[in-house]
Amino acid sequence: MLIKTYAVIPLLASVALVQSSLLFRFSLWGARLHLMLLVVVSWSLLRGAREGIVWGFLGGLALDFLSGLPLGVCTLTLTITAYMASLGQLTVYRTSPLFPAGLALASSIFHDGLLMLLLSLAGYALAWADLLLRVALPSALLGALMMPLVYRVLLRLHLRTLPEDLKL
């Protein structure tokens, strides 16, 4: 059974709500967990580009509705990040247990860099160096630390929703 889009929407909406209302209270030396990014990157790695892109789009849209930023910015960023993360499927290192964490680190930095670029183009005044060093990098490290946990949960969902003919 494939995960249908209508089932994904409440799931990603819940992740966005948790990120907006709960996770902002938990911080480790300024780093905050970007749960939606980890979910989308995990799914892209497990299911490939097409499902990753759909999850990135819907997840980004859910974040956009809760964000004060222009609607569409998170959508665009997370959709492209999902595609980039899905390229990890093509590498020989993907079987390594450390690979998801490394991919989360790279994806997080790419995502935040792209988001900052879009915001700069939209006319926002951003302190690039400070944001990268004090927000993006610590958050990317925290994301890499938490990725194995998120990936494990998504792996179980992936295995449970795999089409019968693809199961070993």
């Binding site: 209302s21 938990f26 905050r32 509705f65 964000s67 004060g68 609607l71 569409g72 900052m116």
Partner: protein, 281 residues
């Protein structure tokens, strides 16, 4: 992956990227406000419940310590102690709320000309890069774009977007925020801008003005975006270089933005829209 499959995937990506860009364009043209209102109406109560459930848990370490403590007590003292803990937590919550409300009441009594609307913080910007809050009061309760938001300790920010029952607040610590301010003692004016590390910087202070650590910084009211004499923070250090036209000061905000639970919207203040006034005949 064959070349054809790769091409198909890129087309798929292009389709969704185009959809995202269309969303961005429609939002810029303000065509998506009804959809945003609808989503805000659905999500605001859920965010309120989630925010209430975690209000006491303010950082990760505290959270784990609480869980460990609860588990140990649960083993030792079983049901009765559990009930007492729950009762205790409820009472502490009520006490904290009482303290917050008392502080707000004192502030209201000290500023009788202010018409203030209390609001609960129900969310934060999920992007980590921007300083926004979401509160549980919106258009229906009289909140409008531009209204200042404060606590009894000082200025928090201003309303940038409203939905029927929730609003988004741009914090003064966001790098895109600017507040015209003055130093209380010397009356030196400048502009307070946000910075990434939740601090504030006061720029454009004349070189001839005397500014020293410990000075209080208040809103000046210039520009008509904020009322006068709201506390912004306190000077912690001053950077004065002979080669520069202005000096600047590092400001410690009077409000602890990491622990904001309740705020007040100054509904009696309407900012002056200078652009609209200039265009008017």
């Amino acid at each position: 992956m064959t070349r054809m499959q790769r091409g198909g995937t890129l087309l798929f990506l292009l389709l969704f990227v185009s959809l995202a860009v269309v969303t961005l364009v429609l939002d810029r043209a303000n065509r998506l406000q009804p959809a945003k209102d609808l989503v805000a109406q659905v999500t605001a109560p859920i965010q309120g419940v989630l925010a209430a459930a975690t209000r006491r848990v303010t950082d990760l370490r505290e959270f784990f310590i609480d869980v460990e403590e609860c588990r140990a007590k649960n083993e030792d003292l079983q049901l009765l102690v559990d009930q007492l803990i729950i009762e205790n937590v409820r009472l502490r919550e009520a006490e904290i709320e009482n303290v917050n409300l008392r502080a707000q009441l004192n502030f209201k009594q000290a500023n009788p000309s202010f018409k203030l609307l209390s609001a609960q913080v129900i969310g934060r910007d999920p992007s980590n890069l921007a300083g926004y809050l979401i509160i549980d009061r919106g258009r229906e309760e009289g909140v409008a774009v531009g209204m200042p938001v404060l606590t009894d300790r000082g200025l928090v920010g201003r309303v940038t977007e409203t939905a029927p029952h929730s609003s988004k607040i741009l914090l003064i610590t966001d790098p895109s925020s600017s507040v015209n301010a003055l130093i209380q003692e010397s009356r030196a004016t400048g502009v307070v801008q946000g910075s990434v590390v939740q601090g504030l910087v006061m720029r454009y202070i004349q070189q001839t003005e005397e500014v020293k650590p410990g000075d209080l910084v208040l809103t000046s009211g210039l520009g008509g975006n904020f009322p006068t004499r709201l506390i912004v923070g306190q000077v912690t250090s001053v950077v004065k270089k002979d080669v520069e036209l202005f000096q600047q000061a590092q400001i410690r905000p009077s409000v602890d933005f990491g622990r904001l639970e309740m705020v007040m919207v100054l509904t009696s203040f309407h900012p002056i829209d200078s652009e609209a006034e200039q265009q008017a005949p």
